[in-house]
């Protein structure tokens, strides 16, 4: 089955390009496994009449520069490309204003975008669903992205929609980013099947501490995100797929992780991640990888560096939690994806411990495992965990706190009112996001 992606805004278009690049080079690297390659290509690409791989993507931005760059990079790779007319851009950006994207640019251009999406959908033999890629900080990704997601939901009510969001650095990208984030999350929560989140701050730390990159650029950050996403989305075997690569990656992902409408926030961590020059000199064992990964999960560190090894699952009597202190990260559901050599020998029992999960879901329901004997992206063995847990609670709470403080002095509100978002709309959005925070906080009770 095929996934149609929508890349929105500067961030979405840059991350999307890196994602296709990783997937394409991985699929072709794994040529010895022909079914794997075929399934991966069918999932993300179609072939044009010259036999080139063309990404099943629609590129949307309100200014032309980034799309042009991404299309050029893709064409220069020589392995794949974007469709010549599956992109839409305008001349003037949304100016970091969610309201401008959602109330002005979205409605104005939705027909063109819908048409581009429809053409892409019709190219698929079978549609698995949509993945939208965007940041929540700016105006186009967040505002237009939300509007487009809404229209996808209307037009394809039965299809899965996974929103991939990039959360901005805590400081220094866009000043109104917390407003834009709250508005985006509040709206997407009603529309999306699951929301997969990458935080720039976390990824930046991975670049500096695990990959030893001195001068970190956005393309380094985006490549890490693409690697993690790719390791989730590449074909894998599920428990009931009987040796056939799972046919609907989005459906399987959503059904194993987003079992309750109040809980839709997914985070990802991957192990190992290291400079490519070191890979050849490293050996990995499944027990070692999984032991690290489990501790990363329960102590909520997204990196194997600086894991809190003291963290233990709490006994039934001590299930309390504070937002500030280091605390045990309770999960609602986890999906473990293992790729590489001797994958079937890997023992993942540690993830089936009931203490890891909320009391109202049994570990058998809460835990899912996918395998693939094909190694991913040059790592002989690798493990990725997609987790619906409290991992994003703290950054989300910070985001809302900062936005709420700003809202209390009504700073910047006039910029939104100008495009038709009122103070009541803000309050509604705050209420829904506070509801999400409250639900995740309750998870450990």
């Amino acid at each position: 089955m095929s996934v149609v992606t929508l890349q929105l805004g500067q961030c979405g278009n840059q991350v999307g390009q890196e994602l296709y690049d990783v997937i394409c080079s991985d699929a072709q690297d794994a040529q010895r496994r022909t079914t794997h390659t075929t399934v991966s290509c069918e999932r993300f690409f179609h072939q044009n009449k010259h036999g080139d791989l063309v990404a099943r993507a629609v590129l949307i931005d309100m200014e032309p520069k980034v799309i042009k760059q991404s299309m050029k990079k893709a064409a220069d790779s020589g392995r794949w490309r974007y469709g010549d007319d599956s992109h839409f851009s305008q001349k003037q950006g949304s100016g970091n204003n969610w309201a401008n994207g959602f109330c002005v640019h979205g409605p104005r251009h939705i027909e063109v975008v819908e048409e581009l999406v429809r053409r892409e959908v019709e190219r698929c033999d079978r549609l698995a669903g949509f993945m939208t890629m965007m940041s929540v900080a700016g105006g186009t990704g967040s505002g237009v992205g939300t509007y487009v997601t809404q229209s996808l939901r209307d037009a394809y009510s039965k299809s899965f929609i996974l929103n991939h969001l990039t959360w901005p650095y805590g400081t220094g990208e866009v000043i109104v980013q917390n407003y834009n984030s709250v508005l985006t999350l509040a709206h997407l929560y009603q529309l999306s099947d699951a929301i997969l989140v990458h935080e720039n701050d976390t990824v930046h730390r991975i670049c500096s501490q695990l990959l030893n990159i001195k001068h970190i650029s956005f393309s380094d950050v985006n490549r890490v995100i693409a690697h993690q996403l790719g390791s989730v989305l590449q074909p894998a075997l599920t428990a009931d797929s009987h040796g056939v690569y799972s046919r609907n990656p989005l459906g399987e992902l959503v059904s194993s992780l987003a079992c309750h409408p109040e809980y839709k926030l997914l985070s990802v961590c991957t192990i190992p991640q290291m400079p490519s020059s070191s890979i050849a000199y490293s050996t990995f064992s499944w027990p070692g990888l999984l032991k690290h990964l489990r501790q990363m999960l329960i102590s909520n560190s997204k990196m194997e560096d600086g894991i809190d090894w003291q963290m233990r699952p709490p006994s039934a009597s001590e299930r309390t939690r504070s937002l500030t202190g280091a605390s045990f990260n309770t999960s609602l559901a986890n999906l473990l994806i293992l790729r590489g050599k001797d994958v079937y020998s890997a023992e993942a029992g540690g993830f089936e411990d009931p203490a890891l999960y909320t009391s109202w879901l049994s570990p058998e329901t809460a835990f899912t495992r996918w395998n693939s004997p094909v190694p991913f992206n040059k790592y002989e063995k690798s493990a990725t965990l997609v987790s619906n847990s409290q991992a994003l609670l703290k950054p989300l709470d910070n985001m809302v706190r900062k936005a709420w403080n700003m809202f209390a002095s009504r700073a910047y509100i006039h910029q939104y009112i100008r495009f038709g978002i009122s103070e009541e709309d803000f309050l509604d959005s705050f209420t829904s996001v506070e509801q999400v925070i409250s639900s995740y906080t309750q998870l450990c009770n």
Binding site: E63, Q69, K91, E173, W404, F407, A408, L427, F430, E434
Partner: protein
């Protein structure tokens, strides 16, 4: 790609504008080696085929035929504009873009605003519309003027009002040159305060620069290049003050100062013109830096000002560039933002600088800079990959900071000193449409602006608790 139109009004506005076009041409010539009219060029220049009457426009991607500035030049004297028309930049403008009178505004805001404002209203609107029609996506008007005289301050703010009426959706960024305390125009406090009211009400952003700061910077650069400390050799043709390499030959007294302002404008627009890993569009400036509609005055600082000779700058010197942007002697207005309160701050970086350099420096500088309680992380950043000519990188900081209060208080005091004695008032009240209430309204507007800064300043240093959050029933 979007386009911008520069509207230069009065003597000062036209002189700065002239430097701007010279430097803009030089910058594009440096980047664009193939002589093709590209999108970056199209943001400030039209490409016309002069063989066709009425100037047949050539599109992006074609060869450069004849570049015309997207500009409207307004002055109520002929001197400066005529000089431009006889100088090397004459080809860049044509007569339809110009509007001049012969008699000047006599350093009288009312003459510029009321008399010329109504006499030339139709013609000005007509020229603005023409300039706008040449753009396929007009994003921004840049108005350049001075506050002290008559034409720049009076007619300049009239043009600003007309822009708002005619093009309400197009961003208006104003560069205003503020007079020094020892200004030779006696009525400059009147003119400035009257103009301030219009700026506060009708501009999206105002970037104030002060003559005295520019003089100080120029003197310091000249001093350092004439010897200074050994080892700190300044490039003779530092792009900041020198127009060398541009079209104009011999330099005139104000050229060095005007060059600094022209560089400021070049850097503001760089991210909208060239590629970068973190674009910063012009409409993002107001969105991020203006939390309350009237508080839209942004303190500019430019680094490196005192360029050192070698181009390959090591990381420590790169960090120095960030530190300098917050030091007193790199501000283009006499103010000390570091010891006042920041409402928001934008860093617009050009050249080979990565996001990690940005992050490191923000983290390093943040503890020493006081930000308003609800905007502790009030940083906006842009990365443009094309550096200015002759530099490996550069930084423009725009700060919404309460330090402007002292400038405004000083201005208000100078105004009151004259106004108490009703000095020179009759020159203004003679003018049709000008009433004494204009003065009182203008000074009230300025006082309330100062008050708003005061309120914010009062929160400085106080521990402000988080606002009580909405509670969710469980």
């Amino acid at each position: 790609m979007t386009q911008s139109v520069i509207v230069q009004v009065g003597q000062c506005g036209n002189q700065i504008g002239c430097r701007f076009w010279d430097l803009a041409l030089r910058e594009h010539a440096h980047v664009n080696k193939r002589g093709v009219y590209d999108e970056a060029l199209s943001s400030f220049f039209r490409n016309v085929d002069s063989r066709i009457s009425d100037g047949g426009a050539c599109g992006v991607g074609e060869r450069i035929q004849h570049l015309k500035a997207r500009a409207v030049l307004v002055d109520m004297e002929e001197g400066v504009v005529n000089e431009i028309l006889q100088g090397p930049l004459r080809e860049v403008f044509d007569s339809t873009q110009l509007l001049t009178d012969v008699s000047g505004s006599g350093n009288n805001w009312a003459v510029g605003h009321m008399t010329y404002g109504s006499a030339y209203r139709e013609q000005i609107v007509d020229k603005l519309r023409k300039a706008a029609e040449h753009c396929d996506c007009l994003q921004c008007f840049f108005l350049i003027h001075s506050m002290g005289g008559g034409t720049g301050s009076g007619l300049g703010t009239k043009v600003l009002k007309l822009l708002e009426e005619e093009f309400p959706d197009v961003c208006r960024i104003v560069t205003s040159v503020y007079p020094s305390a020892e200004d030779d125009v006696i009525t400059s406090p009147y003119n400035s305060v009257l103009a301030m009211k219009e700026l506060t009400e009708h501009a999206d952003c105002v970037i104030p620069v002060e003559n005295q700061s520019l003089v100080d910077i120029v003197n310091k650069i000249k001093y350092m290049s004439d010897g200074g400390k050994p080892g700190s050799v300044i490039k003779r043709d530092s792009a900041i003050i020198s127009g060398r390499g541009g079209l104009s030959g011999a330099e005139k007294p104000f050229d060095a100062m005007n060059n600094i302002v022209a560089n400021l404008l070049l850097n503001i627009t760089s991210s909208a013109r060239f590629e970068g890993s973190l674009n910063m569009d012009l409409n993002e400036i107001a969105m991020n830096l203006v939390p309350f509609p009237r508080l839209h005055y942004l303190v500019p600082s430019l680094t490196p000002l005192y360029t050192l000779a070698d181009v390959n700058v090591p990381s420590r010197r790169l960090d120095q560039m960030f530190s300098d942007a917050f030091s007193k002697n790199h501000q283009l207005i006499r103010a000390d933002p570091k010891h006042s309160l920041y409402l928001a701050c934008a860093l617009m970086v050009r050249g080979n600088v990565q996001v990690s350099d940005l992050r490191r420096n923000i983290e390093r500088l943040r503890p020493s800079l006081p930000f308003v309680s609800w905007n502790q992380e009030g940083w906006k950043t842009g990365l443009c990959s094309v550096p200015p000519v002759g530099h490996s990188h550069s930084l423009l900081a725009l700060a919404n900071n309460t330090c402007l209060k002292s400038t405004f208080v000083e201005l208000s005091e100078r105004f009151t000193k004259l106004y108490r004695k009703k000095a020179h008032l009759h020159h203004y009240l003679h003018v049709d449409g000008m009433e004494q209430s204009c003065f009182s309204e203008a000074v009230t507007s300025l006082s309330s602006l100062i008050e708003e800064y005061d309120h914010l300043d009062a929160t400085k240093g106080k521990i402000v608790l988080d606002a009580t959050r909405l509670s969710i029933a469980t």
